[in-house]
């Protein structure tokens, strides 16, 4: 009996070290649902802090406009809470867009580079800046700091590669 107890104790001790969970898995799970725009519209400085706040019960699940209703549904399902419509205080969902720098107006002040949360702007002091479009999340954080207002948001147009088949609209036979 005591041998078994020692064995089980050792096994549990080993498991505690071997399978140690370093981070709160629920934060990771919430973070996986969030769109990673890093726009801060939720009131937190990025998606991970917002995920942490949700996990700690400091934030509601309806504060993420880029995630939209779809994201709220997923969060509600994950956390076992009621769905809430998006809180308009934090903004409205917008079509996905990318920032565009008007390169003739840009003075090379680097303020937008410092604002970009995903390092998607290329440039140097007194040199023209440009957006790395495939890496831009459309967070709009670079728009406000620009002293010459040369950054605008362009909605991503649908092209042959991104086009999706539509949900079939079929006429049902009326008896």
């Amino acid at each position: 009996m005591s041998g078994l107890a020692v064995f089980l104790g050792a096994a549990l001790g080993f498991a505690a070290v071997r399978f140690k969970v370093h981070e709160d898995p629920i934060v990771e799970q919430i973070d996986a649902i969030l769109p990673q725009t890093q726009c801060g519209q939720c009131g937190f400085p990025g998606c991970k802090p917002y995920a942490t706040a949700i996990a700690n019960g400091d934030a509601e699940i309806n504060q993420c406009p880029p995630g939209g209703e779809d994201g709220i549904h997923k969060l509600a399902e994950l956390l076992g809470v009621e769905f809430k419509p998006l809180n308009a205080e934090h903004g409205e969902p917008k079509p996905k867009s990318v920032a565009v720098i008007d390169e003739t107006t840009c003075i090379g002040c680097t303020l937008c580079i410092q604002a970009c949360p995903v390092d998607a702007i290329l440039g140097a002091a007194k040199q023209m800046h440009t957006i790395i479009a495939p890496e831009c999340t459309g967070c709009e954080l670079c728009v406000a700091p620009c002293p010459v207002d040369c950054i605008s948001m362009a909605p991503i147009a649908e092209d042959v590669a991104s086009w999706k088949w539509k949900y079939p609209v079929i006429k049902l036979k009326v008896a």
Partner: protein, 548 residues
């Protein structure tokens, strides 16, 4: 020579309508007034334009360079002038525009210099690269870059090579006519494939509703220097699907989510074999293909058509437009899609232009609710449960559709064909597939953004730490300087160094004699000497102050 054949489950027998376009030989389409060549004609990355507006191009000259691994080049179909590189409506179910190079032909049809490739004595990867630059892609429908499929992989061997002459879709006869008229060339292409894949056996699968093609291929096979087995397979739609033909000929099934090379089989459309022959044995890039123009036209026929030919100019070859023409389909009635514009150019994927009329293609009757009859499941050649996929796709439960192997669906349309309620089942599957793809793309973008954001946070933190460390180092150095005494002879050493430098400079100056004093009168020389003396005095005074 009878080979044991196997059966795949399901399939349907739609009416063939093949005879309509097989009574005339393959015609050569005349040079159109303009050629609009899309840069995205294959699966994967579109080609990158390498010509400029106004540039003169020759027939076969590369106008779009392969960009990325899954990509092939695009070439000028004739000689002429590049008049535009812009978005133009293309043959796509969306009806959207895509980047195209517009060429106005000069009428000379002048070829660029080209020659046959010595493929037998060539490095395999170099040969594949050349095929990529010659724009060779599968002509059966998927337009997958052929050079990737012609890589035998780690085993250096794909034992079975199948040429797909199934052509099971109703109305389409381009492969049939190509086999009847150019069988030897097709097998010449097969010889290249066999060489590249190191295959043991070469099979040609042809549906038994094409006896002329079978006879022509058999005749060519008997002249061939390697064994080719031409096999007549039962006519059953979609028997020309790659997976279905492999099952019929070998009894092997391609695993779900896998590729045919996993089971040692490579399948190519016979049109691809023909274009491979043109590329390797003549050095010609893929700039033309056989297109069936049939349906509601006066003279249905197959034409050898240049890529980029506008639809209207092509359809005109079969006679004046009939009054009851209601639209155009690219491909066949089972898997084709409606073209939204008559301005779309022909591409490498265009096997057939089917002209519609209400009489030939009456509008689909209104859909009625699913009555759970299960006929779709019986007809499905991919052994799926179409009714379940339908429910889940309709309910937007995409996770479940994937559990039911939605991505094994080949969109053949058998389920919709047999559905007594006329439900457009394939539309639901296409919808579900594209939603799933879009979600995966979003997820990838989100993962990239997360990585980049986390790296940025890390970098900012590291920079802060580095700055703090630097400041600390500076502060401690200052502190150390303040506490320790200065060495007494430091100043003296400095002074000595300055003295040495001055002496060196003086020496240098004295060495250089002015060159403009040679022919001067003595009084002038005296004047200069006086000035020099004054200068020397001043210099000596200045030196004294420095020394003090």
């Amino acid at each position: 020579m009878t080979r044991q054949l196997y059966e795949f489950n399901g399939g349907v027998h739609p009416e063939g309508h093949k005879h309509a376009s097989t009574s005339r030989p393959i015609g050569i389409a005349p040079l159109p007034s303009v050629l609009i060549v899309p840069l995205r004609q294959h699966i994967g990355q579109p080609a990158k334009p390498v010509v400029a507006v106004g540039e003169q191009v020759l027939k076969g000259q590369m106008i779009g360079q392969a960009d990325g691994y899954v990509s092939v080049a695009v070439h000028a179909p004739t000689s002429g002038t590049v008049t535009d590189i812009a978005h133009h409506v293309v043959a796509h179910p969306s009806g959207l525009t895509d980047l195209c190079v517009t060429i106005t032909p000069d009428g000379a049809d002048r070829w660029i210099e080209h020659s046959a490739l010595d493929y037998r004595n060539m490095d395999a990867s170099h040969l594949r690269n050349l095929l990529r630059e010659l724009g060779i892609a599968g002509l059966g429908g998927a337009v997958f870059p052929s050079f990737i499929k012609l890589n035998p992989g780690a085993t250096q061997k794909v034992p079975t090579l199948i040429l797909n002459g199934g052509e099971c879709e109703p109305w389409i006869t381009c492969d049939d006519m190509l086999m009847r008229e150019r069988a030897t060339d097709i097998l010449a292409g097969a010889a290249v494939m066999r060489h590249m894949l190191n295959s043991d056996e070469v099979l040609v699968g042809i549906e038994d509703n094409k006896p002329e093609a079978i006879a022509a291929m058999q005749a060519a096979a008997s002249q061939c220097d390697f064994a080719v087995e031409v096999v007549a397979v039962p006519t059953l739609y979609p028997g020309g699907g790659a997976k279905q033909l492999i099952k019929t000929l070998t009894g092997k099934e391609v695993p779900s989510g896998g590729r045919s090379t996993d089971i040692g089989v490579a399948t190519f459309n016979i049109g691809t074999a023909y274009s491979l022959h043109r590329a390797v044995n003549h050095g010609e890039p893929l700039i033309s293909r056989i297109v069936t123009i049939t349906g509601n036209v006066h003279r249905p026929q197959n034409f050898e058509v240049l890529v980029g030919t506008p639809l209207t100019e092509l359809v005109r070859l079969t006679g004046a437009t009939r009054d009851d023409t209601s639209g155009y389909v690219m491909g066949g009635p089972m898997m084709g899609f409606d073209l939204t514009s008559t301005e779309v150019p022909m591409v490498k994927a265009t096997n057939c232009i089917l002209v519609k009329s209400p009489a030939l293609f009456p509008p689909a009757p209104p859909a009625m609710p699913c009555i759970r009859c299960g006929r779709c499941a019986q007809a499905c050649p991919a052994d799926l449960q179409p009714q379940e996929l339908y429910w889940f796709a309709r309910a937007k439960n995409f996770g479940k559709t994937q559990e039911y192997n939605l991505f094994d669906c080949i969109e053949c349309g058998c389920c919709s064909y047999v559905c007594p309620s006329h439900i457009p089942l394939v539309q639901y599957y296409r919808y579900a597939k594209s939603e799933i793809w879009a979600k995966e793309k979003d997820k990838k973008a989100a993962d990239l953004a997360r990585d980049r954001h986390e790296f940025r946070q890390l970098r900012i933190e590291r920079e802060q730490q580095e700055r703090a460390a630097k400041l600390a180092l500076k502060a401690s150095a200052k502190l150390a300087e303040a506490t320790t005494d200065k060495p007494a002879d430091a100043d003296a050493a400095k002074k000595a160094a300055i003295q040495a430098a001055i002496a060196r400079a003086k020496e240098k100056k004295d060495d250089v004699a002015p060159r403009n004093v040679d022919n001067l009168p003595p009084e002038k020389l005296q004047e200069i000497a006086d000035i020099e003396a004054r200068r020397a005095k001043i210099r000596a005074m200045a030196q004294d102050t420095v020394e003090k």
